[in-house]
C-alpha cells in the first residue's frame, strides 16, 4: 500500500498511470452527467413551489459542492507538499486552482440566475451561502494572483501553499461570521436549505450529476497535472525519451 503511494509520487509513474486513467474518467463522467441531465431536466417532476426553476440545482449544487471540495483537496496537497516535500503534490495544487475558481464562478452565476425568479433580484446579500461563495472566489483568485507573481517555481509552490493553509483554517470563521452577519438581515430566510425533503425522483439525477461532475473534474485535473508535470520535468531524461519514442 505505502509502496504504491511512494511510486505514485514519482512524476514518471504518475504520468503513465494518468494517461491510462483519463479516457475512462471522461467516459464515466460523461455517462453519469448525461443520465443526470436528461433525467433532471425532462423526467424529474417540477417542484410544487418553484416550478421548473428548481432544475438549475442540477448544475448549481454539484458546482458549489466541487468548489468547496477542490479547496479542501488543495489544502491537503499543500500540507503534503510542505511537510513531505513531494513535488507532485504542489503540481496538484497548482492544477486544481483554476478549475476550482471556475466551479465557484459557475456556482455563483447559476445561483444568481436561480435567485432572479425566486428572490426577484440577481444578488441577495442576505443569503449566507451566496456571500460565502463570493469570498471563496476571492480566495481562489488571490491564490492564482500570488502564484502568477512569483517567478521562482519552487518558492511559489511553498509560499502559495502557506496561503492556502491560512485560507483553509480561516474558512470556517469566514463562513460563521457571514452567517452571523446575514442573520441580522430580515426577510431573506424564506428559502433555507433543507426545507421539505427532496423526492427520490429529483434526488437520483442530482446524485448522478454530483458524481459525474466530480469524475469529470478528476479527469480534467489529471490532464492539467500531466501538462504541469511535463512543464516542470522538461529537462529530465524520461521526458526526452518519451518524446523521442512518440516521434518515431
Amino acid at each position: 500500500m505505502w509502496l504504491f503511494f511512494h511510486k505514485l509520487a514519482s512524476p514518471k509513474y504518475f504520468y503513465s498511470i494518468a494517461t491510462n486513467f483519463i479516457p475512462w474518467l471522461f467516459v464515466l463522467g460523461a455517462i453519469l452527467m448525461f443520465f443526470g441531465i436528461i433525467n433532471g431536466l425532462f423526467f424529474a417532476p417540477p417542484d410544487y413551489q418553484q416550478g421548473d426553476a428548481f432544475r438549475i440545482i442540477y448544475v448549481h449544487v454539484p458546482s458549489a459542492y466541487l468548489s468547496m471540495m477542490i479547496y479542501v483537496l488543495m489544502a491537503i496537497t499543500s500540507i503534503v507538499g510542505l511537510v513531505w516535500r513531494i513535488k507532485l503534490a504542489h503540481a496538484v495544487t497548482v492544477s486544481a486552482a483554476p478549475i476550482g475558481a471556475w466551479f465557484t464562478l459557475l456556482a455563483l452565476i447559476t445561483g444568481s440566475i436561480w435567485g432572479r425568479p425566486m428572490w426577484g433580484t440577481w444578488w441577495e446579500w442576505g443569503d449566507p451561502r451566496l456571500t460565502s461563495e463570493l469570498l471563496m472566489l476571492f480566495l481562489y483568485l488571490g491564490y492564482i494572483a500570488l502564484r502568477a507573481a512569483i517567478p521562482d517555481n519552487n518558492k511559489a509552490d511553498k509560499l502559495s501553499s502557506i496561503l492556502i493553509l491560512i485560507g483553509a483554517i480561516n474558512i470556517p470563521i469566514i463562513h460563521f461570521s457571514v452567517e452571523w452577519w446575514t442573520s441580522l438581515h430580515q426577510g431573506s430566510t424564506l428559502l433555507k436549505s433543507g426545507g421539505p425533503a427532496i423526492a427520490t425522483s429529483m434526488l437520483y439525477p442530482l446524485l448522478a450529476m454530483i458524481f459525474g461532475l466530480s469524475i469529470y473534474f478528476c479527469g480534467l485535473l489529471l490532464t492539467r497535472i500531466k501538462a504541469e508535470v511535463l512543464n516542470r520535468e522538461k529537462h529530465t531524461r524520461w521526458i526526452k525519451e518519451m518524446i523521442r519514442k512518440d516521434a518515431k
Partner: protein, 230 residues
C-alpha cells in the same frame, strides 16, 4: 560558546520591538502618509453622499472601518521591506533567537506605529459622521482589536509576498478575503450598538480572533520569510 553572544529570547524580543518602534518614528512619513490618506478619504466621503445626520451616523461606522482597513493595507509592506532592503532581515533570520518571537515583536511595533495613531484620529472622523460619544467609544474598542488582528494577518501577507517587488496590491488581494470576519464584526458591532444591542458579543469575537491569529500568524510569517529569503 561566547558568553556575551548569548542573549535571552525575551531580551531579544524586547530589543527588536524597541528597534522597530524607533525605526518607524525616525521615518515619520511612513506613518503619516497612510494616516493622512485615511483621514482625507474618509472626510471626503460626505461630499459624495447625502449628508443628513441620520444617513451619516448610519453609514459612518462602516465607512470608517472600510477606510481604516484600506489605509492599513497600505502600511503592511513596511513590516519587512526596509529590513529586506538593507539586509537586516537575513541577520534576523540567521540569529539564534526564535524567529516567530522576533516577528511577533515586529508585528507589535507595527501596530504601535500604524494602529494606535489610526485609533487616535478615529474619534475626529466619528464626530464628522455625527456619531454619539458612546458609539465612538465602542468604535475605538473595535478598532483596537481589529487593527491588531490586521497587523497579525498582514504580517502573513507581507511575508508571503516578500520576494516580489511592489507587492502592495498583491498583499491586499490575498489578505482581504481572510480579513472579512474582522470587517464584519468590527463595523457591525458599532451599528448594532447604535440600535440598542449590547456590543459585548462583538468585542468577544474580535478579541478571540486576535488570540486565534496570534497563535498562527508569527509561525506562518516565519516560515514564509525563511522560504522567501533562500
Amino acid at each position: 560558546m561566547n558568553k556575551t553572544s548569548e542573549l535571552s529570547a525575551t531580551k531579544a524580543t524586547f530589543a527588536m520591538f524597541r528597534r522597530d518602534c524607533l525605526h518607524y518614528f525616525h521615518k515619520p512619513s511612513q506613518i503619516f502618509n497612510p494616516l493622512l490618506f485615511f483621514f482625507m478619504v474618509t472626510a471626503a466621503i460626505p461630499f459624495a453622499i447625502d449628508t443628513s445626520e441620520f444617513q451619516l451616523s448610519l453609514l459612518g461606522p462602516g465607512l470608517i472601518w472600510i477606510m481604516a482597513i484600506l489605509s492599513y493595507m497600505l502600511t503592511l509592506n513596511q513590516l519587512y521591506s526596509d529590513d529586506l532592503m538593507d539586509g537586516c532581515l537575513d541577520y534576523i533570520v540567521m540569529s539564534r533567537q526564535p524567529l516567530p518571537l522576533l516577528i511577533l515583536a515586529k508585528i507589535c511595533a507595527h501596530w504601535v506605529a500604524s494602529g494606535i495613531p489610526l485609533i487616535l484620529i478615529s474619534p475626529i472622523l466619528g464626530m464628522i459622521f455625527q456619531m454619539q460619544v458612546d458609539t465612538i467609544l465602542v468604535m475605538i474598542v473595535t478598532l483596537i482589536f481589529g487593527t491588531f488582528a490586521l497587523s497579525l494577518l498582514g504580517s502573513i501577507g507581507a511575508s508571503i509576498t516578500i520576494s516580489i517587488n511592489n507587492s502592495n496590491i498583491l498583499t491586499s488581494l490575498i489578505i482581504l478575503p481572510i480579513a472579512i470576519p474582522i470587517l464584519i464584526f468590527g463595523a457591525r458591532t458599532i451599528v448594532l450598538y447604535q440600535t440598542g444591542i449590547s456590543a459585548l458579543s462583538g468585542f468577544y469575537f474580535l478579541s478571540a480572533y486576535c488570540m486565534f491569529a496570534l497563535s498562527f500568524a508569527p509561525y506562518a510569517s516565519a516560515s514564509a520569510i525563511k522560504i522567501g529569503l533562500d
